[in-house]
């Protein structure tokens, strides 16, 4: 395309009338000049003009081809042919099409908006392309070892690949002045390296973050400022209490700055104050894993930088546990929140697929509608073809009509996507248990130009889906018969229509099967018994050891609390793995079996309704003295002492070195051999936890560090929870969570319910679209076949025959769709179970749940019969005399 060409095209787009007039003038001049020539040769004016016209041929056609040469056909067709002219006459049809496509596009766009925030949305900092996180590569079958503060300092001292590098510790949820705030601890150069300035006051500086002398200052994010301080313009200089220390708010960051996460934390504070903000880390700051992110020096490639870092790592620098393996360090780009990878696509593709099904079904419906319309427009199209319009051109016009409608849908879809996201967020916040809802702050992800571009592309793609077949079918005409007013009934449109219904039924079946699998999973989960008494227990997490004694005393003293037990790990923590083995007499020395254990106080069993079957529970003195006694579950007892009474036996426990990374300060077993004093009922634990509950218990008291409390309360546990929370925050304003067991029980089914509602809404939409599609097609066919049906009735067909004819025609097609849908679901389920996530999925839902399959298929069959019965009834009522008299 050269410059002249561009100029002409631009002119054709922006001054179309003028260009058109010039074209008309030019062609008219030619005919006029030719006429003059003939007149000069002696013809009279009329003959001369006729001859000139005849010689020229179709002026309209020539004009058309000139327009084609212009290369602005689309705009031309849209503007000059007035793409919406035909739809202006039938606004309801246009509205139906736009509505159907807009819902489909809106749903897909909502998913894309989330995808966009994760993958494409660039971190709002200076030159994000140069930002890389330094990470250790995990050795096979073990967790990644994180860098620590000494590593960070060594890296800054000993390498020179970064022009600046900062460290951070994220997701610090703490209770500040009674409210949970999410914070991020960062080194003083954080804002400087990212190149972001404060909107109000100042950001953090290296002077704020001197080791052992950090200034007690914090910087609010815009969200934290508006969420927690009502956008107070005089916020700078205000003091808040964090972990018992006074902190000064020195600044507020601009709204667009969200740090390097999906959403900004509420505040940033100097990393050197880690011990104050999280007292649990006090005194061992050097061992806490932190994240190191740096800005590569200009001109340095990732590979070169990585080589430099590898050399540094292999020197054994970086304090603890730096192994000399080559490739033990990687640089992860921090341009966006996550980098697009196969794993990310594995998560998002199924979601796109499921939501895209609605768009697909909608497109099928619209295609059906347009196929029917194309038939009623046969006359118009036939006339245009016979006066010389090319088929190519008419197809283009039909497609342009579709595209204009699709683009209108895309505009609506933009609004629908926002609505879907906002409604989802508010529904989630409203249905979450209150103690969780008050601590999370979910906002609908933002929209940007990428979503708009995505919508335009999706609109064009759906135009092809719903517009191409009708356009091709509608222009394949027998001209002569069309001109005579006969409607050509090609067999192909019927085939196309049937194929579309099969697609719709398949997709609806797939979605409804998913929905019923989730529903049955949720039902099963809600009836499953974790083995703990849930109704009236409240969990109290103790985060800060200095306050333990006061917290335990306050909890025990609460009038609503009747009993208190302690446990480690907490209800939500994974019991530590050990190898358990019978010990004592040599012949009893059995094989080592993997088990998990918890520290529990004597009240634990009574409080959570775990019956002691044989022997006895721990005594208070055993609990406070860390006695070497243990209790085992029924099944553990059976595994270790298959043919013997477990009570009184000696049990040897050996820590499993490989299964997990151990926190340095966690309680350790007091010895390696324990006397079994009791056997208790098995405890299943929460299904969502995904690990086996403890089979071995060792004694502890609430005074023991790290343990959490469980309190049996009377009255409404939720009210008790709130009063407890209030009382305890006055002791430790920085305390951890207080949760009712009932809430945890509810969380068990919550995610399944989310899955169920999402798929049921999608499945419902799919079913409505499918049913309306089936209904539309059948009504149309009955109308078209009125005469034929009239003849059949006249020849003696009963109304039952006619109903059967119409129903049979639709049910065959629906049947094919059902089989295809069920087969597809089964295949997808099989594929899913071969992936690494199989174990987890299998624990939550049964993807081969036959009753779920049957129920959803039945649901579709009933819906389709209902949709078909109306046209069938109408067919049965056809009056043969009236139809035969029609011509």
């Amino acid at each position: 395309m050269n410059f002249r060409d561009l100029r002409l095209r631009v002119r054709a787009v922006f001054a179309p009338r003028r260009v058109e007039r010039e074209l008309d003038d030019e062609l008219a001049f030619h005919i006029e000049r030719e006429t003059r020539k003939h007149v000069a040769a002696g013809l009279n004016l009329t003959d001369a003009r006729a001859r000139a016209r005849a010689r020229f041929g179709s002026a309209a056609l020539a004009a058309d081809q000139c327009r084609d040469a212009r290369g602005t056909a689309f705009v031309d067709t849209a503007v000059r042919d007035d793409a919406l002219r035909t739809f202006r006459r039938t606004p309801l049809v246009a509205l139906t099409i736009v509505g159907t496509i807009a819902v489909g596009l809106g749903l897909v766009a909502a998913v894309f908006t989330i995808f966009n925030t994760f993958v494409f949305s660039v971190n709002p900092v200076r030159d994000p392309d140069a930002l890389f996180a330094v990470e250790r590569v995990a050795a096979p079958n073990s967790e990644r070892v994180r860098f620590t503060w000494p590593d960070y300092e060594a890296l800054r001292r000993e390498t020179d690949v970064f022009s600046g590098a900062f460290a951070r510790l994220v997701d610090i949820d703490s209770r500040i002045e009674g409210r949970v705030m999410g914070g991020e601890l960062v080194t003083g150069n954080y804002f400087d390296v990212l190149g972001v300035n404060a909107a109000l006051g100042r950001s953090l500086t290296p002077a704020d973050d001197v080791r052992h002398a950090g200034r007690q200052v914090l910087v609010l994010s815009h969200r934290g400022w508006s969420r927690l301080f009502a956008s107070d313009p005089d916020i700078v200089g205000r003091e808040v209490t964090v972990g018992g220390f006074r902190y000064v708010i020195v600044g507020v960051m601009p709204e667009r700055f969200r740090g390097l996460g999906l959403a900004p934390p509420d505040y940033w504070a100097p990393l050197s104050l880690m011990g104050q903000v999280r007292p649990i880390h006090a005194g061992r700051e050097d061992t806490i894993g932190i994240e190191i992110i740096g800005r590569l020096k200009p001109g340095l490639s990732r590979t070169t930088a990585l080589a430099g870092l590898a050399v540094w790592a292999s020197r054994g620098a970086g304090g603890i546990s730096a192994d000399g393996r080559p490739g033990s360090i990687t640089l992860e780009p921090r341009r966006t929140f996550v980098t697009l990878s196969a794993e990310v696509m594995l998560v998002f593709l199924p979601i796109f697929f499921v939501f895209g099904l609605i768009l697909l079904i909608g497109c099928a419906n619209v295609a059906n509608l347009l196929l029917a319309r194309a038939l009623s427009r046969q006359r118009e199209i036939g006339i245009r073809l016979s006066v010389g319009a090319s088929r190519h051109r008419i197809i283009r016009q039909l497609l342009t009509e579709s595209l204009v409608l699709a683009l209108a849908s895309a505009v609506c879809a933009f609004a629908i996507a926002r609505l879907v996201l906002q409604v989802t967020v508010s529904v989630v916040l409203r249905t979450l248990p209150p103690e969780l809802a008050e601590n999370v702050s979910i906002t609908a992800p933002g929209t940007d130009w990428r979503v708009a571009v995505f919508l335009v592309i999706a609109a064009i793609a759906s135009t092809v889906l719903f517009g191409l077949v009708p356009a091709l079918q509608g222009t394949r005409l027998d001209l002569i018969r069309t001109m005579r007013g006969e409607v050509t009934s090609d067999s192909r449109p019927r085939r196309a229509r049937n194929a579309l219904i099969v697609v719709q039924v398949t997709a609806s079946a797939l979605l409804l099967i998913c929905a019923s699998i989730f529903l049955r999973g949720a039902l099963r989960a809600s009836t499953a018994d974790p083995g703990w008494r849930l109704a009236d227990n409240v969990i109290v997490e103790i985060n800060n050891e200095p306050f333990r004694q006061a917290m335990v005393a306050a909890t025990t003293a609460d009038p609503a609390v009747t009993m208190v037990a302690a446990m480690w790990p907490g209800v939500l923590g994974q019991p530590r793995a050990v190898f358990a083995q019978a010990s004592g007499s040599p012949q009893a020395e059995g094989h080592r079996s993997p088990e998990a254990y918890r520290f529990v106080s004597p009240e634990y069993f009574n409080l959570l309704d775990i019956r002691v079957l044989r022997g006895r529970a721990f005594t208070q003195s055993e609990a406070s003295s860390n006695a070497a006694v243990a209790m085992v579950s029924e099944s553990t007892a059976r595994t270790i002492w298959p043919n013997q009474e477990a009570v009184g036996q000696v049990l040897r426990l050996e820590a499993d070195q490989h299964s997990e990374t151990r926190r340095q300060d966690e309680p350790t077993l007091p010895s390696s051999t324990f006397t079994v004093v009791g056997v208790v009922r098995n405890v299943a634990g929460f299904r969502m936890a995904g690990y086996p509950e403890a089979g071995v218990y060792v004694p502890a008291s609430p005074a023991r560090a790290e343990t959490d409390l469980i309190a049996r309360v009377h009255g409404d546990p939720e009210i008790v929870r709130r009063t407890l929370l209030e009382r305890l925050t006055s002791i430790d304003p920085n305390m951890g969570l207080v949760l009712t067991m009932r809430t945890l029980g509810r969380m068990e089914t919550y995610l399944l319910q989310v899955g169920f509602w999402v798929t049921v809404v999608l499945g419902g939409l799919a079913l409505i679209l499918t049913v309306s599609g089936v209904f539309g097609v059948l009504s149309y066919l009955v109308e078209r076949r009125t005469k034929e049906i009239g003849v059949r009735i006249a020849l003696g067909a009963t109304s039952a025959n006619v109903t059967a004819l119409v129903l049979g025609q639709s049910l065959r097609v629906v049947g094919i769709g059902l089989i295809a849908g069920a087969a597809l679901a089964w295949i997808l389920a099989t594929v899913l179970m071969t992936t690494s996530a199989a174990a987890q999925i299998g624990g939550i839902v049964n993807v081969f749940d036959l009753p779920a399959y049957a129920a959803s298929l039945l649901c579709i069959v009933i819906a389709c019969i209902l949709a078909a019965s109306l046209p069938a009834a109408r067919a049965a009522r056809i009056d043969p005399i009236a139809t035969l008299r029609q011509d």
Partner: protein, 111 residues
Amino acid sequence: MARQPVPDILAGTLDLLILRTLQHERRHGWAISERIQQISLDVLQVNQGSLYPALHRLEHQGWIDAEWGISELGRRAKYYRLTTAGRRQLAVEAGEWERMAAAIARVMKMA
């Protein structure tokens, strides 16, 4: 069903003929077709329905330039003129044509 214009001039040569007629002076569409007909002693008849699309195409390619002027009838007419790029193109296409014509002539004579 699409009606392709019947090429009454050897396919692909219309562009060449148009460029050649415009080599020395600007002409409007009718004059171009008249000129081709006259010079070829009525052997080559330009299908007028394909002349104008060709002119528009050449204009878009930047080989000819259009301007409005007053015609011999005293009426406004659209005149076409060869551009510098068009002159180069004419030279290329004329060369091609001669090579082709000579080749065909040789085949006719000797094969």
